[in-house]
Symmetry: C3
Subunit: 351 residues, 3 copies
């Protein structure tokens, strides 16, 4: 664990009280470090997220374990809690003993345009730039070097990490998190071919991001051509993702690292798209569809469908193809043998 600042020790009972848990074993035992099962050493506290990790627990040196009630474990001190993961997060934070985040005000080295409106209790770091006519909600944290272009509108409790960039007119809901070096609202990739040259088509739309969206680092979401590129509320986007102009992403999607979606495509709610997937332009991914890693989507995907492969097909079909693919060299030999047996012509070349 890092950034420990000034770690302090607590008794098992103090930690159990913190998470409204029950102690089984020595409540007076002192604990200093919280670590995963694999990394824990004698004296540390760890946690069991799921029964399936019981073998790791048995191999772990951890002395104190946060577990669900009714899981019998011998030889360790236990804190039984209804939600062991949430309890462990609280315990880790307690032991890390970091100071609470308090509003830092506006650093005098930030460049906030006089026409910008900044809400209550801001934290704006050095070298952050906030452009003309921006409206920034309450309690926003704008980290060092972040650049918010003119006419942007940020809701309350928004966090913009260092060196992230919002171009002109980007709109973010409440509690949106934008990680470092991500770019929202750069021009969409729009050109027309005229007289031997690709001529830029002005990109005049916006980017609109709903409440509770989190966007990873080095991700790019382009502004629309004439309409907004939209991200629905609650959607979580990983690092290095590309969302092209005019896309309309539904609510509560998970878009995993290095996936990309081309212009004017859209997704329903609760869609999950795995890493390195590519989706072509002007298609729709139905709600609750799940697209497997590295898939190449070339057409609409119905709601609820699990899809794999490039070009993407329903998971069941793709799995049958993949199994057959492994047999392909053997199939080729078989065909050769059959043709021999039948006295059919066999081409001379051999792959």
């Amino acid at each position: 664990m890092t950034g420990e600042g000034n770690p302090v020790s607590f008794t098992v009972r103090q930690l159990a009280d913190l998470v409204q848990g029950q102690v089984v074993g020595d409540g007076e035992r002192l604990v200093l470090h919280a670590r995963t099962l694999a990394e824990a050493r004698e004296g540390d506290i760890s946690f069991l997220e799921h029964d399936k990790y019981l073998p790791q627990l048995l191999a772990s040196q951890a002395s104190v374990i946060v577990v669900s009630p009714n899981i019998p474990i011998e030889g360790r001190t236990l804190i039984q809690a209804k939600d062991p993961l949430a309890a462990f997060v609280a315990i880790v934070k307690k032991l890390q003993n970091k100071p609470e985040l308090t509003p830092m005000g506006i650093d005098p080295r930030a460049a906030v345009h006089p026409s910008a409106q900044v809400g209550a209790d801001p934290s704006i770091g050095p070298f952050a730039a906030i452009g003309e006519h921006c409206i920034v909600g309450a309690r926003c944290r704008i980290h060092p070097g972040a650049v918010i272009g003119p006419n942007c509108k940020l809701g309350d409790d928004v966090v913009i990490y260092p060196n992230a960039v919002l171009y002109e007119g980007v709109v973010l809901g409440d509690r949106v998190i934008v990680h470092a070096n991500t770019v929202l609202g750069a021009d969409g990739f729009g050109y027309r071919f005229r007289n031997g040259k690709h001529v830029k088509v002005a990109q005049l739309g916006a980017v609109e991001v709903g409440n509770d969206v989190e966007i990873g680092s080095c991700t790019t979401i382009d502004r629309g051509a004439f309409q907004a590129t939209r991200i629905g509320e609650g959607t979580k986007i990983d690092n290095l993702v590309q969302i092209a102009h005019n896309c309309n992403i539904g609510k509560h999607n998970l878009l995993i690292s290095q996936m990309g979606i081309a212009g004017s495509s859209s997704t329903g709610d609760y869609v999950v798209i795995a890493g390195q997937v590519g989706i072509t332009d002007h298609v729709h991914i139905g709600e609750k569809a799940v697209i497997g890693a590295k898939a190449g989507v070339t057409k609409d995907i119905p709601a609820g469908q699990r899809t794999l492969g490039a070009p993407a097909t329903p998971e069941r079909d793709q799995k049958r193809i993949l199994i057959s693919l492994e047999k392909l060299p053997e199939m080729r030999k078989d065909i050769r043998k059959i043709k021999q047996q039948l006295g059919m012509d066999i081409e001379k070349e051999e792959g």
Copy 2:
């Protein structure tokens, strides 16, 4: 539409005059918003880019439509213009009523090295840094937080968006646009294996970018080892693209998002490379070649060839393979049946 600043309304006739168009219908009608066919509401102006979108037009609520001459549409007010897209762009800008971009000078919070030469009418934002001996042409706009390393040379009318980085010695032609958080001139990935370690080989070349090139956000173009990495004039590069050291990209290419090209490879003019394509090192892509999304290029591609797949093959071959691939499980069953009929041995295991 966003960043509307201070939108104003105009009559249909005023907008038609702006684009040298002909009014069919009520020229005195007032228009406030320009929107796409799908998003337009009663009273809005929209446009028809191509006949194939006629069904969308019929379903649209737009009251005023910018169209090519000679397309008969009933029940709407029309502005007939030779180039409806260009006309619509002009109309959108008119309605958005944003102030003209005027030179902003050099912000006192920028760090411009005293030895750098900056041309006429610059716009250099706060926290931009321009290194020793840089030469910056006329009317360049260097946005907040952009970093231009020493000995760079920028042509006239170059735009560098926020937090983009040019390492030492990068050369940009006129009217080049570099979007936010893009990196030009970082060291190429060059190492030699010596005594159990990968030892860095100094990367001493440059990056040279021709006139009218546009480069998206979070894209990386590495400096050459001993020669320049070059991007030919008029080429347009999307977001999250990787161009490795010593590459020589032709003129008027389109390189789509998340594609990557490895060291010392080159492309002819007018090449189009779709999203998530990977190209190996030391190959040449002939002029006007078109490489489909997600292709993996392992060897030279002849001029004009359309290529798909990983490993990439000519489009026609690849399509035949893909069609057969869907039939693969069935083919496997057929072979089994044939072998049975012929009394041949059948392996026991079943995939």
Copy 3:
């Protein structure tokens, strides 16, 4: 070659002495430019890295060639050196005549928190930000706009290029190089699904990077959930790479551009992973494994194995599959013919 600053000419003998090489031919000849074989002009010096480039040498206009001893070449002046590449690097640098890098101190426009400890001879550029309680080793170079969050710890001789971002608590060994716009320590992609929403799980681990690691530009390495994400010493990471939370990357790996590795996966030492590879979560790549470009790794890879394809299989199997794949349309025709000959049913539809 760029950034030539103030190039100067030297005699062949002077350059040979610089690299402890032997002159064959005219040692008094003056040389001004060093270029690759392909780009060299009359009068330039070039080098021959390997015998296999002899044809390029014969076609080159270069007048002076740095070669290994015992390679007979007629009609050129030679500098024979044991390590021609290293010798050529030294000669290029000599001819470029750039000033030595000297410590620049801490720019008054940098924001170094008063509680941060900065080692001897620093170079910290304008608009760089160094957070609370950071410890920065000797001779570090922090370029303009780089942001080092609180509680980070940097070894000696670390280089952080412009606008790179280290979140809180990132630990870097000695001689680590982080290129521009790369992000270390952003939150891992961790959520739980509760009441129809993806709820963020706090990411409380760190990022720990060993000695002599180099990380390209626009790469993202996420902080661990409860443990550190670790990069072993001597590992080299290219541009636009994604390393997810809790990964444990071995020593002396090469991770090429646009590859991604999902959460909690690990690699042994001396692993090589080519461009655009994707690796799923919770798998281990054994030491000295080599994974080919665009592979999709879905399970553990044994030590030393060469792997290709998506899903990834051992190279030998994959090559057999790929060869058969080209024959697939033909195989389909063969099966049809066989079935005809045997009087078996043939489906009517034709792909």
